[in-house]
Symmetry: C2
Subunit: 300 residues, 2 copies
């Protein structure tokens, strides 16, 4: 099966204790697409300006990511600038929507309702618009961020009725639900209609909630994290990408999908930008999957 | 084998969003001893005042904890008062050392160098004094807290040379080492002489570091936490108590010991005080051990 991903494509300027990088490849759709592309065929739906470096287009193409849905508009690509004083907290210095301002995506004809859909983090109105145009019959997943919970909570909650798998981080789950306890937060989100919920806790791992399954997974233990940007998007892409290739979804497969999300996210934070993530190879992923098992196994 | 535990015995007054309890049974040696007593024979070494309620003495006795090393001194039992506005952070309102002031423990003759020793969280000078008097031949474990790192870092670090297993929380590991990264923190502590290091992350689980083994374990997922007091002490007691009963220590056994520490800590935080923890039965522990496996297992 295939997976269509809508989200942002950005040129990020990021400063962490390990250095500063200017205009590197970023955005939720990039991290998710690159991550998912290790497992399934990805259709990327987004927009860039005509300043978008050709080397990045070539890289996406080389990864087998279908970019016929990546519109090139006259103007500047979306820009995000942030600084991490410590690695747990991004301080946004600048956000320039640029070509995203008033963006109304066209759905290219090769994207049909048959495949899965990941609404990566972006304005929920845009997520809803895409959902309505595609009317997907496969698994629908959705990610978000604090900004949209503050600005467009109602739109987001309306969207949740249509979502099979909703991913967000712990702070966002508390913000959305008004609860301090993640169990209560998950219950609130489930009441809004999401069938499965993943609460991401960064370096502390992830929680999964559905009526049939509760599952906890720690994060992969890394000696060094250089840039946490995109970790959550990468997790989402890895998890959903893995699921897109399965004939059916059951407990075991959901657990395994979260393991792959975790592994991909661990690669994402070891270096700066989406381009580094694209350089990971399948062998390294399989190797780390095994290391993760050794790192966490306690069963006989 | 047996396990001797030195630490504090206290009457705690604790307020959390779930209520306020006055003069309940607490202290590092209580949580550790009760927890360890599910697995091994425990000798408690500490001091209380003559105001210490007899019902607590009876309870300890009923749990099979040997209290011949629990001195009763004229005066008041150690008191600690704290408030949790949210469950992640205790705000200490009062600490009265009382009978601990100038306490010099006597080692009763039934405590020999043969067994294991847990130096539960207390003044490192007292920990060192006990270590010197017992000269234990078994496993020596040690816990601590931020206060001692601030006030008696040198004494604590000197003690680490004699310690096989050192347990502390993530903030304390960073404070002690001056590092932000837990890998670096563990390295610092290992350089000081501790052979095995457990870094406790509260609701986010625990990390284990030794030259031969790295291991991560999430915490047990609870619907409700009523009072986090003593969670770390309970973890230590459960882990070390389990180890005390093993003929040898290897990777598999260390992992399993951490699982039991985690399970016992999960019971400790579900209710107020050490008395509630004592009411847990072995059946419930075994049941939760199985639930924990289901909650975290992703291997085929």
């Amino acid at each position: 099966m295939s997976l269509s991903i809508i989200g942002s494509v950005a040129l990020d300027t990021v400063e962490t204790p390990y250095g500063k990088k200017k205009d590197i490849l970023g955005g939720s759709a990039i991290y998710s697409s690159v991550s998912a592309s290790f497992f399934t065929a990805v259709n990327l739906i987004s927009v860039v300006g005509n300043d978008f470096p050709e080397k990045y287009t070539r890289m996406l193409d080389k990864k087998g990511i279908d970019i016929r849905g990546l519109e090139v508009k006259k103007g500047k690509t979306f820009r995000w600038e942030a600084r991490y004083r410590d690695l747990n907290c991004a301080e946004t210095l600048n956000t320039h929507l640029n070509v995203f301002e008033g963006f109304r995506p066209k759905i290219p004809p090769h994207i049909t309702p048959k495949g899965d859909l990941l609404l990566a983090n972006i304005d929920p109105e845009l997520q809803e618009c895409i959902f309505k145009r595609i009317r997907p019959k496969g698994l629908v997943s959705c990610d978000t961020m604090n900004l949209w919970i503050t600005q467009k909570k109602k739109v987001l909650e309306k969207l949740l009725k249509k979502v099979d798998l909703f991913l967000l981080n712990d702070a966002e789950a508390c913000q959305l639900s008004g609860e301090n306890n993640l169990f209560e937060a998950a219950r609130y989100i489930a009441d809004k209609g999401a069938k499965m919920i993943v609460i991401k806790k960064g370096e502390h791992g992830v929680l999964f909630f559905s009526p049939d399954l509760k599952f906890i997974l720690p994060a992969y233990l890394l000696e060094k994290v250089k840039d946490p940007t995109g970790a959550g998007d990468t997790f989402a892409g890895g998890m959903v990408g893995y699921l897109a290739e399965q004939k059916k979804i059951n407990d075991r497969i959901l657990r395994e999908a979260m393991v792959y999300g975790t592994i991909l996210a661990s690669f994402a934070v070891e270096n700066f930008g989406g381009e580094s993530l694209a350089k990971v190879d399948s062998k390294a992923i399989t190797k780390r999957r095994g290391d993760f098992e050794k790192l966490t196994r306690f069963y006989k």
